[in-house]
């Protein structure tokens, strides 16, 4: 099986299904559609399912729809409130609990800058509640936010930076936001995944080596991510497989020809070898990725702000964060 990196549990399930007839018993999947958005919930319930899908035990909620990247004002608003609801579904905060928002990724590389951009849109309130409580509305919760950078910038694992800070401020919840990799070009900036499993080793374009999750940090960690790139390898594998499928459809069943084609279709080594190693590392993005990232970062920071503070609207957020 070609190791097409994906950070989406939904996609891991799809890939699994391609090679197997049934989903593992420990995986539960439900879908619904709301306001033009397809919402898929994947629950990985036990260790066996976790190993088969290569995703930690927990809940994964995926919002999908082309309208996510069109982002007219109405969709932006709907999506922001949907995110609010799903963040609330995954968390269990009490009034006054402190939350730390972490924006993972490299701010210098456009498709990896989602996390840092969400941090910029996050309403940071902890210092205001501490130093000038008399000027701060009661409905606001203490929130702090940090972009720890990446190993190549700081020389320190981002997980170490987050751990160090978490120890100083003792949050009740961490929300980590990161750009994701997908195997499907169409998912770039049209898909948002929320999960209560945190960030796991090796995933994300940020290349986090150690996880950010309840095990490593001692507090619940919600992760929110959006696919912003596809590896060139995915494109190559996809095209090669498709041309073989076309040949196969035009061949006599069980003929020598069809057997040969089937052989190559399953010969992962050959197929993934079509691209040179350095070509595999190339990233595929839409030309207008800068705009798409700003857009979707705004939606996510809106959703986080709405979920964390009581009774505020988008206009309040606008005037607070400008």
């Amino acid at each position: 099986m070609i190791n097409l990196r994906t950070d989406l549990a939904l996609e891991a399930s799809e890939i699994y299904k391609r090679y197997n007839t049934d989903m593992p018993a420990g995986v539960e999947m439900t879908t619904e559609t709301k306001d033009g958005i397809l919402i898929t919930t994947v629950e990985v319930k036990d260790g066996e399912a976790s190993q088969l899908l290569n995703k930690p035990v927990g809940k994964y909620i995926t919002l999908e729809g082309k309208i996510i990247k069109e982002l007219n004002p109405e969709t932006t608003e709907n999506l922001s409130y949907m995110l609010k609801d799903y963040i609330n579904e995954l968390t269990d905060l009490k009034d006054g609990d402190t939350v730390l928002v972490v924006g993972l990724g490299n701010w210098n590389i456009t498709p990896d800058a989602l996390g840092p951009q969400v941090v910029e849109g996050t309403m940071v309130t902890k210092h205001l509640i501490e130093y000038i409580p008399e000027h701060i509305d009661d409905n606001l919760r203490p929130v702090c936010a940090i972009s720890p950078g990446v190993l190549g910038i700081t020389g320190v694992e981002s997980s170490d930076i987050v751990k160090g800070i978490a120890r100083k401020i003792n949050p009740a919840l961490i929300i980590a936001v990161d750009a994701l990799a997908s195997g499907v070009p169409g998912r770039i900036s049209t898909t948002i995944q929320l999960t209560n499993t945190g960030i796991t080793p090796g995933s994300g374009v940020g290349n986090a080596r150690e996880g950010l999750n309840q095990d490593t940090l001692g507090v619940p960690v919600i992760a929110i991510g959006v696919p912003t790139v596809v590896n060139a390898l995915s494109i190559g594998v996809d095209s090669a497989t498709k041309i073989l499928d076309i040949l196969l459809k035009n061949s006599e069943e069980n003929s020598e020809l069809s057997e040969k084609i089937k052989h190559y279709k399953n010969d992962d080594g050959t197929i993934s070898g079509l691209l040179a190693d350095e070509e595999k590392e190339l990233i595929v993005t839409p030309k207008e990725i800068d705009n798409l990232i700003s857009h979707i970062a705004k939606v996510i920071s809106n959703g986080i702000n709405l979920a964390l503070h009581r009774d505020i609207g988008l206009e309040y957020i606008e005037s607070f964060t400008f």
Copy 2:
């Protein structure tokens, strides 16, 4: 023949050779190697050759080498002086002639920002020579530089902006710098093309609709470009063709199988249809494209500065442009 867009005359020649045994009579090609850089000169000498390669009549000099993107200080210096020499080879300036440097492309989209970044590194001297000649060294020539933006930003064709400005300042030469598209991933930021044909309609990621060349501007136009992206389509076509080649090599000659494969290999419609239309428009770049662009923009502005002003070195440029 699949329309794999390329802005490189060298690559247009390569593609032509794939489908034909001999190059057109009106094309002359020479190569040499210097300091680890392969230099190919393509001269398109007549209208027939121009039509066959889809490149205007003129001279194209291409510098290629992996060390271009490594850019250690020594290579940077060597390349800067090479560019100086080749710019001088393509131009014929007299002392005191005014030169206009034009940085084409969209500064908001990283792989398209090469031109604007070169403009930032260009030594702009025209106003100094006009207003404070007593403070300016005699060896400097009047140079001005502008990034006209792209149609989507200004609402105006960049060629119209350049024409309007050129009419006001009457330069003796225009040097236009632009990011190019290539069909070969390995050429991204390892290749620099210089040509005396200017920029031609439809080429460049900037999507210039009308050309910038001696015909449209009334002065000689040198164009300098670097491939910064490859279309996803190139990757897909490449992989599909390669897997068919592998199948072919493993088939009996002249068998039904080998004929079918050959049919599909030449069926451009099917092969270019493997990717959905919106997928074809995706761009493929290295992850670290931001750094690569800054790097190579520096080399090009160095080369331009060295070529335009007499007896200056890299240190002088550094202190002038900071």
Copy 3:
């Protein structure tokens, strides 16, 4: 009289009044207050008045108020619609007339970046109406927008760049936006001036040497500006004058002391010599000037967009310009 540079006609009037008892006959001034904003209209009606105030003949509308820099969402909205009304008052456009928006100033220097930031928020439509009219609403007018940079960046006078472009696209109106200098710190980002006199030589921090006005461009030019800096000289002169006033108030009338103080108060050479020449050139801004500029640039681009296109609202602008 100390040459405290001001680009505001209102302030020129105030300074005139400090030294004279009556305003010139050819100056008409009216004020009104709306939504917490003080609106002063100064009309300079003849050449004599123009010379005395050092401002070209024409109409100057100034909006003032501390709430301009607070910029909560409601004020932003009110101000945007006010600007729309005053722009319309100064212009006389027919359906389909093309408008060119010009953002003067240096984008690399925060307090001078107002114009370029307004250009970024301007709805650019000319190319869409030309190339894809079937996808464009009928109520939109052809608008293009450009930031010509400053002499130090391009080597070319920004007026020459604007002239060159204007000649190519033949607009019916030019709207030029620029950061202004004021002599009163409290006016920084709390004041917006609109005028139908265009931009005049020597004014603006952009240091435009030649004017942008109906005389030089052949079409009406509306200028919109906001004070973003005060010269250090203003602070020094202000403090020195105030301490002399305090001394004077505490001196016996007509005493030797009071005469001496009066002498120094009117000794412009001494007072403006309190700061060294290089200190006079220092600029004074609020610490948070980055935010203030973004804010007010948004308000101005909103006002321009609302004025130029029929029947659009702020939400429409938001979805168009993102």
Copy 4:
């Protein structure tokens, strides 16, 4: 005594001298000139001296010179090596000791962005030495670098962030870089202060509330700073004092007039009241502050890199950090 904020020990000494005849016994001050740079070393030796100058006990080295802001390549090089020497004078590192470079200040506010810009130019090596030691030269020391942001951005004290990270990586030395405030306009970007006392509460435009020093962090802390702003108050006080001095010089000694002037000169309340409270908070900078900050940040990061790694030169740094 008017509270003119200064972060320079040298300036604190100058202010002290204005009001007192002798320096405190516990202050030792020496000066020398090298390559056009005036180097002043102030040692605050005991608690009494510390209280009188309002600066912690320790050593302060100040480099001053107009050529610092001219920054031709030769000066840049000289200064970089000078900084190397003085950093080494203040530290005592063993081979292989880890160093953490901290860039204090707000990257969104130009005059406060010195620290973050120095971090960008710092050679970060810790991760390379850990993960790919075989590719790393032996002469490099493990260095990591972080810009913790400011309270208004993260909601967390920057000192808390630094403490959290320091606890995880256990550096042998911390180098903190920050923009400073001065009372003398001429010192802006012409002065560099190095000290072994770290950063103390209330100083710096970053408004750090808690110190970064050996007491709070448990490791030696070197602080490097450059004045980038002067408060408008300094300009006002300066001008008012100067005009009073002129009046005084032109008055008869011991006359009623001269007594009155002397009274006001020492009436700090009146003098500092000449500016409104909000005007006092305005900052005064050169117009080209963006360039000055980039320049001097480069010099400081050069000095730090040279001091921390054995046997490297500026060209090596250039190729490493690009």
